[in-house]
Point group: C2
Chain length 273, copies 2
Amino acid sequence: MDSTTSNGSRPIGVFDSGIGGLTVAAELRRLLPQETIYYIGDTARVPYGGKSQATIERYSVEISELLLAEEAKMIIVACNTASALAIPKLHATLPVPVTGVIAPGAKAAVASTVNGHIGVIGTRGTVRSGAYERAIHALAPEMRVTSQACPMLVPAIEEGWLENDITDSIIARYLGPLVGSGIDTLVLGCTHYPLLKPALARFLGPGIRLVDSAENCAHAVRELLIQQQIGAPENAVGTLRVALTDASDGFLPVAEEALGLSVGNIRLAAVQR
Amino acid sequence: MDSTTSNGSRPIGVFDSGIGGLTVAAELRRLLPQETIYYIGDTARVPYGGKSQATIERYSVEISELLLAEEAKMIIVACNTASALAIPKLHATLPVPVTGVIAPGAKAAVASTVNGHIGVIGTRGTVRSGAYERAIHALAPEMRVTSQACPMLVPAIEEGWLENDITDSIIARYLGPLVGSGIDTLVLGCTHYPLLKPALARFLGPGIRLVDSAENCAHAVRELLIQQQIGAPENAVGTLRVALTDASDGFLPVAEEALGLSVGNIRLAAVQR
């Protein structure tokens, strides 16, 4: 058996602080149906936002080690906070390729904008970290970036209010000033947000392009698989396996339905709290 | 110096998983201005809801020990999750009196209702725990209790949307069915919720009485101080001291303003994460 085939049959490991990263898993399933995805949501320690860098590095390494124990051939950090703070540590620690959601989202935003003014929405923690600004400016220092924290969106999504007049009002409240500022591209800087794409697109209209970090992360993963020659054979049939570090709180069915995912049995994985 | 005076000069220790419990501190300041309050918000490990009982007991004991190191003469658990899960452990472990927010709220609700039908609102975790139902039924088994989880209210409060049309819509969405079910009393089963009292009262109208757990907790503390003879002298001038286990995320100014609290310098207290 050559190393490509042997690697090919191994799963892609994906983790998030919770369930939101399933949007990344769903994009991976769509784009790479031959790949098996092993997803771990660290629901016992959610949210990562607001915790110190050292803590988030430690959590990220611990969850990655659980994925490596499942033979993961690559680690995808489907969490904006961990992508912003733990990627260098993971690169230095793990024996497999690592990618996050921020760099692919920044790259797609720079490719998308025509007027050079990019909007970014995310949690308070992600916006405060300035991670998207830094990633965008590393690629194109002349870009103007306007960020808006939208702390009410994750709770609305987790409540299942995806097509809902209250959520529409919240979107208008947050995005109105952003649209007024003249952006032509909006980065969804939180892995939950793709579940609101229809509602967001309705408010933004056709003049503003949405950059979905989950989708762009999946494209980055495909490139990395090709480049490292560790892809599954084209005719393989992948599956999605999900483990959580604590019992879910009811958002999982919302995500499953909205993403058209069949998650099946959820495993429980133990971590220190 | 006799033991009453010696105890009297010691602070009352109050803790919560975050900032929400400041509503309890504010009621204590209003009712007992002679008492000094030492408040610790465990913002490094917020939220407690969703974590296991063993974890919440451990966190509660750790924070209580920090308060005892400040000479606290009594521990107030200003957190619904910890009140529901950790009070027996704290009673068994700590050398000072302990009280939480659930028992006083349940007692006030039973005293308030005329038609015997009590509503309870809280976070998903508090509602799922059934702690208010149990506490109400322990006092009056014939009561009918209808509970409603309101997971969008804490984010709205933390966003500072206290007088806001979106928050009014969220309240109507959650409370409409509860009002329709015929309750005559509504327990605010989350320490954040007193900040929405004006908005909640506007929606409920004069026919439904609001039971504020923070206010009732403060009354329970006054009774306990008298009963244990550990109150500060009537002519003493108390203060409020606040420590957090991680830097605050911006909600503190909202709470300070809405509660009319002067928090001053915030200390940082270290805990294991």
